[in-house]
Symmetry: C2
Subunit: 410 residues, 2 copies
């Protein structure tokens, strides 16, 4: 197509149809290629620490779990299209695997229309998981893990469809919001042939480097969050999180419970500090259990004050959340969300709360049932979204044609 | 109130009314004060560069304008309540001035229910501005700048009320999302007695340190954005931005045009690189005008190729945006927004675009009128929000009882 007719075509409106193919780079573009290369070199020399940091993609487990919180996150869930069968889903997961491998090292995916935005890894991770409906819709019922269903209804729940459920999850995170946006867009583009986007839930944690040493991230209630988590990489962590026995396609994977938990900050803020600490059972400043000095001190649930009253009340969150059975443990990785504010100034904020475990029925569920029965914190926290996900194991290497979920389709 | 009755009160449900006042810190809290002080000291020692950086608040001009883009931003607009008169508005602005001064140095505002989240300045800025309705509603019509009204309707506009207009603006930014969230919440809390929140529009730019040297931020179309801006602090900048002649309360202030511009990325992505460059008139990689080498090279609008065709087409954005009259210049400070994605994968993204100038009618308007008549970029960019704001001058110092907008009320 000549340059003249191309311009007419462009201006005539057909450009928006996507039918236009650029015939050549053109003289105007060529003229600045030298300067462009120089800029590129300067860019690379100036890549900063935030941009350069990267999380390994290939390995026994997917990334995005044993990973220090990134600053930005997006939980993108999909519903399979009726015409997508298991063979199509396999093609989708193969495509996605290649995309994630590239984005994780800061490269643009194949055929990326905006490769300029692949500025670096910035600890990009994308974690692929499947929901209960995935197996039924694709005729893979024999592969479905025993008892893998959405959570039972809880009294505290006020679940909304638009924040809940789904057949496939891409949980995508990075330390830079533009790199995250580009990654989400790339992965969604390669997914919409196979599935509809059900929701995209954006969240955040502190900017990289902002968490002062020795103190974990705080949530928007001001509490230190994530205390009592197993240490990443420890045998404790591995025993809590990774599936060892189960369907072969899931060995090295894990189960994810996702909860969107709205915070009623207006009424929470009206409480004094002492009341907040009684509700939680921890010191607001450093996260120490009441009556103790430090965040990680063992909790003494029997300690009483001079009046014989328990230092940690019966209704306190940590008393109800605490597992007396050592198998009832989970790994949490919560992000914050903020959508807006009402005319009266009530912020629409909360947690995109996640728990990882090898068995939801024996780890998350007993804890949640206790919290549902009695936890004063329920007054200020309302679950409005919920989903369960089977997180696929990792991909050992790309050279052998492996891809995420390959064993699901064999 | 005894501890026993306090607990009963708390558990009984009245806690949520805000009526509860903590009588004392309590034994459980006191026990961990030593450890708390130690944690605090460790925190301060570990403050990182991102957290420590701060923007001066006191001065001739407000901050948030001559400021390198922060990573996160929120444009919070308010509508005055009918009962708010000029005296009440003055009290509001006094309160807000004190809040901003504290937040800018990383301190919690007075009576902050969550001072734990005031972790550091992180380049926090909040800029206070008033809209045309402010003067009419408060009986201050004599103070209203001549011709200060919402923009005329443009052909390209598809404005939505929920993204447009307002009586008072707080434009709040920081390099950390939790610090921003805390700052927004603090300022909104101290505002809702006087006004209703009309909207809160969140945006972002690259994480701090991520912009590679020599190249400006890119928007989500992949373009380098902000070329041709006057250099911050130069006499050129000062002449373009700061009001020198006008109402005395506005000397040292500026006018802000805000536009929420939606990007049609699906169809934009379907264009090839050459076509995108013809639409913009610049090299996509380094921002150089077509036919030139570098971003800041002078534009040659007459250059032609071997076919006699202009290198920069008649419809190109930079040809239409370019001012032939030297007075038609503005200072732009655009952030990106991303709200979500449609089921078919179309991202709801765009720009929270801002232009600062001392006179909207002679600077922004002539440019916008040209773009409205003919700019091929209009096919992929739709203004869906709009507002004009008179940005108050700065506060020289706090000791003399000065506050933002004081001269408005005298």
């Amino acid at each position: 197509m000549s340059k003249i007719s191309r311009r007419g075509f462009l201006f005539g409106g057909a450009a928006a149809t996507g039918a236009l193919v650029s015939a050549s780079a053109g003289a105007a573009v060529g003229a600045s290629l030298g300067a462009e290369a120089a800029t590129e070199a300067a860019n690379k020399a100036n890549l900063t620490a935030v941009l350069k940091r990267r999380e390994r993609f290939f390995g026994q487990h997917q990334n995005g779990i044993e990973t220090e919180l990134q600053t930005f996150t997006n939980f993108v869930a999909f519903d399979l299209k009726p015409e997508t069968d298991a063979a199509a889903a396999a093609r989708w997961f193969k495509l996605i695997t290649d995309d994630i491998a590239r984005l994780s090292v800061g490269e643009a995916p194949l055929a990326d229309p905006t490769p300029q935005l692949a500025m670096g890894p910035a600890r990009f991770t994308a974690t692929l998981a499947v929901g209960p409906g995935f197996f039924d819709k694709l005729g893979l019922a024999d592969k479905k893990p025993t008892g893998f269903e959405q959570l039972p209804a809880f009294n505290v729940d006020q679940l909304r469809e638009e924040y809940s459920y789904g057949d496939v999850l891409l949980h995508i995170s990075a330390d830079d919001p533009i790199i995250l946006s580009h990654g989400v867009r790339s992965l969604v583009r390669d997914s919409v042939g196979f599935a509809k986007v059900r929701y995209s839930q954006q969240g955040f944690s502190n900017a990289q480097g902002v968490v002062p040493g020795g103190v974990r991230q705080r949530n928007l209630m001001g509490q230190v969050d994530g205390t009592d988590n197993p240490e990443i990489g420890s045998s404790d962590f591995n025993n809590i999180v990774w599936v060892e026995n189960g369907p072969d396609w899931l060995i090295g994977g894990t189960f994810l419970v996702f909860r969107r938990i709205a915070m009623q900050l207006g009424t929470w803020d009206a409480l004094g500090r002492t009341d907040k600490e009684l509700v939680i059972g921890r010191n607001l400043q450093n996260g120490a259990p009441l009556g103790k000095q430090n965040e990680n001190d063992p909790i003494d649930f029997d300690a009483v004050d001079a009046n014989g009253l328990k230092l940690i009340p019966e209704f306190a969150h940590i008393r109800r959340a605490h597992a007396t059975n050592p198998t009832e443990r989970i790994f949490r990785r919560p992000f914050n969300y903020e959508v807006g504010v009402t005319p009266d100034g009530e912020p629409d904020v909360g947690l995109l709360w996640t728990a990882y475990q090898r068995d939801i029925s024996t780890q998350f569920l007993p804890i949640q049932k206790r919290l549902d029965q009695l936890d004063l914190l329920n007054k200020w926290t309302v679950p409005i979204g919920s989903a369960v996900w089977a997180v696929l194991p990792g991909v050992e290497q790309s050279a052998n044609g492996d891809y995420l979920g390959k064993k699901l389709f064999q």
